[in-house]
């Protein structure tokens, strides 16, 4: 029975692990469905009135009125000057009134609407897709880079090790946000792939250090010496022999970094360095929250917070269980 199978059996005995794995799978399924366009495809459609409240909240008549207040025709004093754009404006107003009549918008939605009347629930689902894609892809990139660099540095030693250690020091010496901003400036445009690149390119350092230490430890083990004595090449020893024996470290780090990067994406988007305005993520939802909270519109921040807290907690518990299953000595 292989060690992986034994780890799987240990994992199956862990109730918290199974429960968190189910939550993680549900989140990934939601993200996949959203990516495939099955759900939340129309998240950008302005289906409700501005700040339409959730259905389970009793509508506040005063707010309703404020929300429904259309463009008013308050006559203004023009100081005797004729507005040169008046005919065009009148035309636009007439066109708007016909195309999207305010009367057709819903006055309440399942979990409310944002400032532009977009459905918060749909936004949260779409945001799940963005956040998970960013978290998984950037963690995969960071784990790939960290493992590759760590393997070479630890196995080769000498100047290769010195070079990667120097790179590691450079990356960890620069304040995180400064580094992120610098990379964002170099990459130019905003967007999901940019965020993935930023997080992946800056986040490999911790994994590098751990994998390097593992390679240092394993390369002098007898089984690697035995592989050398049967003629296995360096590449074969590094990736066919040692890698499977350190892969549990990488796996645990991968899943830890998913959590870390989901949170990082939220912070980045909140600060405005994250995804563009044509995309929604939990971070960009939270970024809209401060102005809404002043007006007492709590539903957007609540939706984003619940989704994020659930996903991050489930992922963290899942990581713990994976670590326990893969490395029973830690228990």
């Amino acid at each position: 029975m292989s060690l992986w199978l034994l780890a799987w059996q240990r994992f199956l005995r862990d109730r918290v692990g199974i429960a968190s794995a189910i939550v993680v799978v549900v989140f990934i399924a939601i993200a996949a469905a959203s990516a495939a366009g099955w759900v939340a495809r129309d998240w950008g459609k302005e289906v409700g009135v501005s700040y339409a409240p959730p259905r389970f909240v009793k509508p506040n008549p005063a707010e309703q009125k404020a929300g429904l207040a259309g463009p008013s025709d308050v006559s203004r004093n023009d100081y005797g000057i004729r507005d040169p754009l008046a005919p065009e404006l009148a035309e636009i107003r007439a066109g708007l009134a016909g195309a999207s009549p305010t009367e057709k918008r819903a006055t309440s939605l399942a979990f409310g609407a944002d400032k532009w009347g977009r459905d918060v629930l749909q936004k949260a689902v779409k945001g799940t897709e963005t956040s998970l894609v960013v978290g998984l892809a950037s963690a995969a990139l960071a784990a790939f880079l960290g493992t590759l660099f760590g393997a070479f540095a630890g196995y080769r030693g000498g100047w290769v090790d010195d070079f990667f250690n120097w790179l590691y020091s450079v990356f960890t010496a620069i304040p995180y946000l400064l580094l992120v901003l610098a990379i964002a400036a170099v990459l130019g445009q905003k967007g999901v792939s940019t965020v993935i690149l930023i997080l992946g390119l800056t986040g490999w350092t911790g994994i590098f250090r751990l994998v390097r230490a593992e390679y240092l430890k394993h390369k002098v083990r007898e089984y690697v010496l035995a592989a050398d004595s049967i003629g296995a090449s360096d590449a074969r020893r590094m990736f066919a022999h040692i890698l499977p024996n350190v892969s549990h470290v990488v796996l645990v780090q991968l899943s830890l970094h998913v959590v870390l990067f989901i949170k990082s994406e939220v912070i980045l988007s909140f600060l405005g360095f994250g995804v563009g305005i044509d995309t929604v993520s939990w971070g960009s939802m939270l970024a809209e929250a401060p102005s809404e909270l002043i007006l007492g519109m709590w539903w957007q921040i609540t939706a984003a917070t619940i989704a994020m807290a659930l996903a991050v907690t489930a992922f963290s518990l899942f990581t713990d269980s994976v670590r326990d299953a893969l490395d029973p000595r830690l228990e």
Partner: protein
């Protein structure tokens, strides 16, 4: 009786490690608890100190001067441990705390149990270090464990154990991590201390001859049960139990005749001239010259740090030599292409638990060398060859789909031998290939190696610290000390008439 153990049972989960063991330790006597790995000997000793891991269940009675230690309160046990009963462990390096000086650690026991003041404790520590035979004890007080040799560390551990004048000293394999010459000194020290301080001693060992040289009474254990107990004289002269008899027969002895073997003409397979290896300014091998004959075994004996393993790795080209010449059937071995060289020379390593990749199934482990060297037509044929080799080393075909952790140490070493054989090498370097195994398994593997040598006409470079094992295997023996080969001769001559003083010292240290 000082200690009476009655029907002691210790279990871990569903496994019963000790199954109803009864024996006594009389006053001023040494009792040896002998057994192979898994016999329950260490667990029995730990239950006297009540140092068993928390998941263990202990039943029965352990009476120390009438007090049942299994039910004594924690406070009573704390007072007993260290002051009345103390213990010396196998690995002195891992039993000493690396961040405190030796003097501090010995003095700590005195301050803790005897309530001595700092100055008095220091003086007493000095006396103790002197008593255990540490040279220049005043200087050793401030030394840290890593600054001492293995033997010195074990002496410091013993000083700590006897610091509070215990009545009973439990020594758990106190010498198995040490070289034979050091082992002899430590044994003499323990016997001397026991006599001078009128202590009792419980001596745990896997080595029956070691037990014979120190104990008054011997208890032989196997699989959690006592197989035989009696006075040392009786057990050695007239063993009543089959298992004891087998252990006595199997233990490698110098007087055991070597197996007759097929004679081959003395063709030189491998010749080394002035082989040297230097690590960061330290010369590990200082010019070794020797030859290995075709189909014969060259034994290489040395203690830890002698450079014997480095020499083996140099020959196998797993380390790059700093100088010297190596010829494989007349060719310059350092110029032979890497893969071609590896096909002709294989290595069996010491630790079967570490030398197999835990993530590879046995099938993968055995077919990998053939795949790398392009042997065997296809995967099916390679698998067939692997099954054939498994049969040769005494394992069945279903092993192919299993993983190393499903095998015992002896079985793993068989797999490692099978892996080396996949390439049909001319020379097999066996680096302490049987040292990690129990004696009964050791004997089987040595015979297997000899059968294989006859069958495949292989040569062996057989490296070991154990003179008796080397004598049994080798046609010629060389003795290595501090990176130099000090003596080389035919196996029979070197044991009959050792010329170098170091060889004589080594031979004299073997317990008989």
């Amino acid at each position: 009786m000082m200690v009476s153990i009655r029907e002691l049972r210790v279990g871990f989960g569903p496994v019963e490690a000790v199954k109803g063991v009864t024996f006594d330790i009389p006053e001023h006597a040494t009792v040896a608890l002998v057994g192979e790995s898994g016999s329950g000997k260490s667990v029995s000793a730990l239950s006297i100190m009540r140092l068993l891991p928390p998941n263990a269940r202990a039943g029965g009675r352990v009476l120390y001067r009438g007090m049942d230690l299994l039910t004594a309160s924690k406070k009573q046990m704390r007072n007993l441990r260290g002051s009345e009963i103390s213990m010396v462990f196998q690995e002195p390096m891992s039993s000493l705390n690396p961040v405190f000086s030796v003097g501090f650690q010995v003095a700590e026991a005195l301050r803790e149990h005897r309530g001595l003041a700092r100055r008095a404790a220091r003086e007493r520590t000095l006396e103790l270090l002197q008593e255990v035979g540490l040279a220049d004890p005043a200087a050793k007080l401030g030394r840290y464990p890593f600054q001492l040799s293995g033997g010195e560390q074990q002496r410091a551990m013993i000083a700590m154990a006897i610091a509070c004048e215990p009545q009973l000293l439990i020594a758990d394999e106190p010498t198995s991590a040490l070289d034979v010459t050091v082992q002899k000194q430590i044994l003499e020290l323990l016997a001397e201390l026991k006599r001078r301080r009128r202590m009792s001693m419980l001596f745990i060992t896997h080595d029956l001859s070691l037990a014979g040289s120190i104990a008054d009474e011997v208890v032989v254990m196997r699989a959690g049960e006592i197989r035989e107990q009696g006075s040392a004289k009786q057990v050695f002269a007239a063993p009543r139990d089959d298992y004891t008899r087998m252990l006595l027969d199997l233990r490698p002895r110098l007087d055991r005749p070597r197996r007759p073997r097929k004679r081959r003409d003395d063709e030189i397979l491998l010749e080394a001239r002035g082989l040297r290896k230097r690590f960061d300014g330290v010369e590990a091998v200082k010019g070794a010259s020797f030859r290995v004959l075709k189909g014969k075994t060259l034994g290489l004996v040395g203690e830890s740090g002698s450079g014997k393993t480095t020499l083996g790795l140099l020959v196998a080209r797993l380390h790059e030599a700093s100088g010297g010449e190596l010829r494989l059937q007349g060719e310059d071995a350092f110029r032979v292409p890497r893969l071609a060289f590896k096909r002709r020379l294989q290595v069996v390593f010491q630790n079967p638990y570490a030398s197999l990749n835990p993530r590879f199934s046995i099938g993968q482990t055995l077919t990998e060398p053939m795949r790398i060297h392009g042997l065997g037509g296809g995967e099916a044929e390679r698998r067939g060859l692997a099954i054939e080799l498994l049969a040769k080393v005494g394992l069945t075909a279903d092993a192919l789909f299993k993983y190393p952790h499903e095998f015992s140490g002896g079985q793993r070493q068989r797999i490692a031998i099978a892996r080396a054989l996949t390439l049909r090498p001319d020379l097999l370097v066996c680096d302490e290939a049987v040292s990690a195994l129990d004696v009964s398994i050791q004997a089987q593997l040595l015979n297997l190696l000899q059968d294989l040598q006859d069958e495949y006409a292989m040569s062996y470079l057989f490296i070991s610290h154990d003179l008796a094992v080397v004598k049994y295997m080798a046609d010629e023996v060389m003795v290595m000390k501090d990176g130099e080969i000090v003596e080389m001769a035919g196996a029979d001559e070197i044991y009959a008439e050792p010329k170098h003083p170091y060889t004589r010292a080594l031979l004299a240290s073997i317990p008989r």
